[in-house]
Amino acid sequence: MKVSIRKSRLQLLWVPFLVALGGIVLTSCYEDYGLTTQDYDSYLTSYTPGTNFQKFRYFVMPDTIVHIYDTTQTDPLKSARKFDKQILSLCASNLEARGYTRLASLADVVDSSVTLVVMNAQFSSEFTGYYYNYWYPYWGWYYPYYPGYYPPASGGTYSYTTGTNVTYMADMGQSRQDKRLDGVWVGIISGLTGSSSTAGTRISTGINKIFEQSPYLYAGQ
């Protein structure tokens, strides 16, 4: 009998061990998969419900990108301006591949009701914050002593900057009628700045991605 009771109590010792094991496992349950800068790029597209993209046949697009920044400071994306022509070229080629014809200027617009106005703009955003590790040192207060909670041993601040390119399309005819820009589609590419060696590739991927995500965006016959 005594042996059985001792065995039962020994078995119960597994419970706090397993709970502690579960706690340790839980603290490490969010993997990060070793992502690179490019993996933090994101692509968002949105269209105005009810838009008939097939009615449009032409588009006009300025040959410059609008850079939005605090003019009392240096543009954080100044070094990225060398990619402006690449962005504009890719936008135009993607629209042309979808059946839209580019008009050289506003003077060439014959029928504004079947013409899209395409614009590109860029801006940057800076994010800062702090972090500290709740769970470290987990064992410090539990074993071997129980004098109280030990303060967290790791923490710090972080700061990063993102660059965003916005491609915006408006219905020229409706906009003239309403005397305001009537947008029908927007494509947004956002990603971390600072990696110049891969910037060209990332920009190409991003511009192509926002059009791939928009299978409804094609001209009628």
Binding site: D41, S46, T162
Partner: protein, 208 residues
């Protein structure tokens, strides 16, 4: 005298009941849990989870019937670049999707066969609460959605006696967490369903 008689009766009844309870055995164990998403959950996560565990206790009320409780954890994580359709658009990019499920359940089991059989199948039903945490990391953004759900989990399994009082346990369980709020994307129904395959070891102990 009457009071003494009553007192003796009460003490005798209490001792008899305690002895009867003492003969009830307790099966406690730990399992490794595999989780397979199903239904709406598989739209977000279609990968199996091999990172889960459970601790469970069952008290036999008779040779064929036990009641008990369990605590489990299943964890899913997936790296994907699947485009997410929105109501009027889409969002794309490298994503890491996570789901953590924590069921807190009470259970009842019916055992087929004889207690002395080396292999003994059983059927069971679990009822309780699920705490489910869903997270989506995309770009530099992270979205999280967590809710408590009421849930049910019918199961079937078998136990094989490996040595006196020690059993290998294998269970197939269908976990269903009912709707309790909105989804991460704003839909009104946030049910979760997944199959569980739980493999582990249990020990039978008696209280004396």
């Amino acid at each position: 005298m009457n009071a003494m008689k009553i007192l003796k009766t009460l003490v005798f009844t209490a001792l008899f009941a305690a002895t009867a309870m003492a003969q009830n055995q307790v099966l406690s164990g730990i399992t490794w849990n595999i989780g397979l998403p199903s239904g709406r959950m598989s739209d977000f996560m279609d990968k199996a989870s091999f990172g889960g565990f459970a601790i469970e206790g069952r008290r036999f009320l008779s040779e064929e019937f036990s009641v008990g409780g369990s605590f489990s954890w299943n964890y899913w994580s997936e790296l994907t670049d699947q485009t997410i359709p929105l109501e009027h658009g889409a969002v794309g990019g490298t994503q890491i999707r996570y789901i953590n499920s924590f069921p807190f359940l009470v259970n009842a089991h019916y055992y087929i066969g004889d207690r002395k059989d080396q292999i003994r199948p059983y059927l069971g039903l679990n009822v309780g609460a699920y705490y489910i945490l869903q997270r989506l990391d995309i770009g530099v953004w992270s979205f999280q959605n967590d809710h408590w759900h009421f849930g049910l989990a019918p199961e079937a399994g078998f136990m094989i006696e490996m040595s006196r009082g020690t059993y290998f346990m294998a269970t197939a369980r269908y976990n269903y967490a009912f709707d309790s709020g909105s989804t991460m994307g704003g839909d009104s129904k946030n049910t979760y369903a997944y199959w569980g395959i739980n493999l582990g070891v249990s020990w039978m102990s008696g209280w004396f």
